[in-house]
Each structure stands twice: as structure tokens, then as C-alpha cells.
């Protein structure tokens, strides 16, 4: 069985006030009313026999509502009591599967164009996964982005994983032609993943199993706290030797900032509602409120209005949203 394993644990601090802890970005209706979570379900529905969604328990209701789509039938939700990063999240799903079930791990909050190039990459990954490889997806870089990790490769073989680089290094990576963006997508059988976890991070596997087997809720919570919070990259991918990468060309972005969202939506001719401009150019506006927004004499800014607040941010500076959201939460929550 092929399972679309959707990781939906994002906390939504980088797109405030559009996303919040209560409504992370994967659940925002961005594209004619469709959320990224729904896009992910729809994109993989013809590949996968089933979907498993790992998510914070406070988002189960919104996820269930949004999963009520034509063609989406076989779906299971795994509630996380506490976010423990991706390695435990995938383990919780893998433990519930049969050994040879193939897991296609898809973060819920990425934008991906579902074209031929995407499905070709997925099919190749499934084929390698069924042979016992831990498969990762590397995106051919379009520019020297400093917000992504990189995978150094030779064809489908991984030379090394690299953390987010500085600008100089990012430029060198892109110029070399042998580095790919680390997409955060993976493909493997349940057994391949659990074997690797058992070998490199036995603690993660041990406490995940204890949580699942524990009947007493209070004890289960204690076990939860004992699970190391670690990403699949740091837990497994950087150590294992049965790794493959699929060098891919499909359109992919992690929408990690308003600059990324603005770049993407403006290519799609985004037209904000209830907005009035006078001597103002090259601005990006999202108006979710019912009040008009008027701009006079301002250029190159991003304005986001929702019922949570108003953000006015110079283009290119949106990596600071996370910081300011943390200031706002201190005062208002």
C-alpha cells in the first residue's frame, strides 16, 4: 500500500497575521478557497491508497473539515500531544503500518505544482523506496536561497547534507551545479525507516512505542516528554548509507515568508480586494478584513490585514515576522 503521510505540525509564526498558532498556514484558503493542506491531499490522491495526517490535536477539527473533499476517502488522523519534530511524527505513523507499506512523506505547508515532472519524481522515488532505500527529494535550485538546507549529490547518490548556508556559500552551491534544495519530502517503506531509527535513534523509537502502548493518559504524556525532539534529517538521513536523492525539476516552495508567498502569488496575478492605491507601486497586499486599505505614496511594501492584526513590512524583510509575532504574543496572549 502507498500512503501519503502528511506532516501538518507547523505552528504558523512566520506568516502572522495570516497564520497564527490557531490557524497555521497549511489551513489558510490561499488559492481560490483551497488550502495547502487540501492541495496536498488532492495532489497525491491518485498515487496513494490512503492518507495519514500527523498534526497537533487542536487542529484536528479544521483538518477533518477541510479533508471533506470529493475523492478523499481513506484518511486517518494521528494527534500529537506535543510537537516533537519530524522524526517522531513519522515514527508514529510508521509503527502503525505494515512493513512494506510505502510512505510518501509530504509537509502540508508547501506549494507544489502537480505537473508531469512532479509525478515522474514520485514514481521514481516509490520504485527506489520499494528496494529498501531512504529516498529524499532535491529540487534544482533557481537562486541562492539562504532559507533552505542543501543536498550535495552525484546523480541519485547523496554526497552530503548541508545546513542553511550564508549568502556567499549559497551562491557557490548554486554555481557548482551539484547542490539541490532539501525539500523536506521523503519516501521509504515503514520497515526501512523504523530500522534506520532503531539503529541511529533508538530513544525516539522506544518512547514513541511507549506512548502508543501506554493506556494511562498521564503516563503517556510523561513518555511524550521523553521523546527527543529531532528532525528526520538529523535523526536518520545524515547517518544512513542506504540514501538516495531524486534530483527534481518541479515547482516547489515552502512558503516560509511573505516574500516567498508574494513572489508566488504575484506570478499568479494576485488581486487584493477592497484596496485603493494612489502613487503607490510594486506593493503586495492581502486584505482579509472587511475594511478598505488605502495606500498613498508608498512602494515595495507588503500589507497583510486579517482579524488578527495588520502587518506592514518592507519587501525583503519578512524573515523578521517571526520575531515581531513573538513580541505581539507576549503582550496580547
Amino acid at each position: 500500500m502507498i500512503i501519503n503521510l502528511i506532516l501538518s505540525g507547523g505552528s504558523g509564526t512566520r506568516l502572522w497575521p495570516l497564520s497564527t498558532n490557531q490557524r497555521p498556514k497549511q489551513f489558510i484558503p490561499l488559492f481560490s478557497g483551497i488550502s495547502l493542506f487540501q492541495e496536498c491531499l488532492i495532489r497525491n490522491q491518485h498515487i496513494a491508497d490512503k492518507s495519514i495526517v500527523v498534526l497537533n490535536k487542536s487542529h484536528v477539527e479544521i483538518a477533518r473539515d477541510q479533508a471533506d473533499l470529493p475523492g478523499i476517502k481513506n484518511i486517518e488522523f494521528i494527534e500529537e500531544k506535543i510537537a516533537r519534530n519530524t522524526a517522531p511524527a513519522i515514527a508514529f505513523a510508521a509503527i502503525r503500518c505494515f512493513d512494506d507499506d510505502i510512505l510518501l512523506v509530504s509537509p502540508a505547508d508547501h506549494i507544489i505544482e502537480k505537473d508531469e515532472s512532479y509525478y515522474n519524481s514520485i514514481n521514481r522515488a516509490i520504485s527506489l523506496a520499494s528496494k529498501g532505500f531512504l529516498v529524499t527529494f532535491g529540487i534544482k535550485p533557481l537562486f541562492p536561497e539562504v532559507g533552505f538546507g542543501y543536498i550535495q549529490h552525484e546523480g541519485e547518490n547523496v554526497i552530503a547534507f548541508h545546513e542553511k548556508p550564508n549568502e556567499d556559500l549559497a551562491r557557490k552551491y548554486v554555481e557548482s551545479g551539484t547542490y539541490l534544495w532539501n525539500s523536506g519530502m521523503f519516501c521509504f517503506t515503514a520497515k526501512t525507516y523504523l530500522d534506520a531509527l532503531s539503529k541511529y535513534q533508538p530513544e525516539v523509537l522506544k518512547f514513541c512505542n511507549m506512548v502508543i502502548e501506554e493506556k494511562d493518559e498521564k503516563h503517556a504524556e510523561e513518555h511524550y516528554h521523553n521523546i527527543p525532539s529531532i528532525s528526520i534529517d538529523h535523526a536518520v538521513m545524515e547517518f544512513a548509507d542506504n540514501i538516495k536523492v531524486i534530483p527534481s525539476n518541479f515547482t516547489w516552495t515552502d512558503v516560509g515568508s511573505f516574500d516567498a508567498l508574494s513572489d508566488y502569488l504575484q506570478k499568479r496575478d494576485h488581486q487584493p480586494t477592497n484596496t485603493f492605491l494612489n502613487s503607490s507601486n510594486s506593493n503586495f497586499i492581502i486584505n482579509e478584513g472587511n475594511k478598505p486599505i488605502a495606500l498613498i505614496g508608498v512602494d515595495d511594501i507588503m500589507v497583510i490585514q486579517t482579524d488578527q492584526g495588520i502587518l506592514i513590512c518592507k519587501k525583503g524583510e519578512s524573515q523578521k515576522v517571526k520575531e515581531i509575532y513573538s513580541d505581539i504574543k507576549k503582550i496580547t496572549c
Copy 2:
């Protein structure tokens, strides 16, 4: 009797979204909850025996509420069915007064510091008014403002009134030392004003009287439409020879734009509420909403949030607010 005649007919299009047609700027609580209309009442309460307020009938309720202040007792409201500018507004009050009542004409939407210098000017004006002069107040200009009219003078004698100048001319006016800002404040007896009106604008007086005497409401409205819409400057001051000007030093601004309001409030250490700044300097923010406003990487802008809308305006460009408010009204009203 000395009467504080408050002209409160402003329509509130230049400070949108803070002011609107429903709530013009004189009724906005700007200074620790006190509006400009209230400041005007308080400022003149020890000079005047009575206040008369001429205003649009849709603002009578808010004006009555705001006039409920300690010490403000003798007050009368004259409702205008249609705004006909200042000459008819003053006539409606003057017709109701005794000949030798002294009218101190005060626009409701100006900011004035009530210091010794102010009261000295008023006392001198009252003294000249009681001798039969039409007295105007000229403010010694602090900078070459193009948004005000100017009065050319020699002591208390008026040489000429001048319309709003261009920048070159404004600079020449200020450098010459013989020009004053035309404050829009006046002082005269009811008889002096009505005599001048009868001489230079008999039509204004005729139709104002017809409105007052007409019992039939529909006919009264017809007479209202026949009143020429004209300012006291164009109707009387530019023709009369019994004019005096009081060259004054008191702090005065007509708050005609957000730039003017920003200049004034920032001198008074205005601190906006519920606002978060990151790498942002020299901005002016008014947040009347209950949602936070966050600024990242933007300088020299003005942000105004109210329940009417959001304005983001480059400093120095706020004269365009009137234009954009007219666009907004077309769509939303």
C-alpha cells in the same frame, strides 16, 4: 454679551479614516479623550457669556453629548440643512443676536494653545470689535505653508488678503515679515457683520432671513438652496474698509492633513497603542482599532487604523487623502 460662535460645519474628508462625513475631525477625541470641539468650548468659556454652534443637523447629537462638560451651560445649536460655507453660517447666528452682541467666530476644528498670548489677542479683538471693526486674527507664520491664505498687514491695518500661495510665493511672504497666516477666526458685533453683509452680499442676507421666517419646511429648503455658498473672506472681508487684524503669536494649526496632525502630536510625544516596531523609524501611527499593528523595515510613513479603514501614507503626501477618500466612497457607500 460676548458670544463664542463655533463654526462646526466641516465634512471630514481630509483625515479619513480618522474622520468621516459621519464624524468630522472636530468631534474626534484626540487629546486624552477631548475633542477639538470640546477644546474650543473650554478655551473660550471664561471669555464668552454664551456659545452658539452652527453645524450640520446630523452632528447635533454628538455635539450635544460632547458639550455636556462642567462649566458649559449657556449653549445653543443652529442646525444647517445644507452646508453654505461660512458667510451664511455666521449670518444665521448674527440675525438671532442683539445688535451690540460681540461674536467671537471660532472654527471648531483648529488646534490652539490657550495661553496668555491667545487671551491677549482675544481681548484686543473684543475691544476693536466693540468700536465697529470687523476684526480678523493673523498668525505670525513659522514656515512657508502653502495650505493657508495670507493677510498682508501694517500693524493692525490690513493691506490685502491673499489666496493660498505656491511655494515660491509662500517663501517670499514669510521672508518679507509683513504677511500673516489667515486663521479663519473673526470678531465683530452682530450689527457690524450684518451691515457689511447687507452692503456687499445682500443675497446672502435676504435668503438667510427667508429661511428663518419661513414656516413651511419644504419652502424653507428651497430658500436654503438659494443662499449663495460663500466664505466670509470672499463675501465681506475682501471688500470692507472697517477691517482690523490682530497680529498674533499663539500656537495655531488648522489640522488640515495628517502631516499637520503628525507634526503637532509628535511634538506632544504621541504614543500609539498596540503597535509593534522592528527596524522602523520616524513613523506616525494612530491605532484606534483593537488589533495590533506591526511595522517591519519601513520609515517615514503614517498609519491610521480605525473601524472605517486603514490608511498607509508616505509623510508629506497626505494632501492626497481627500482624493482617495472620494474613490473609497464611490465603491463602499
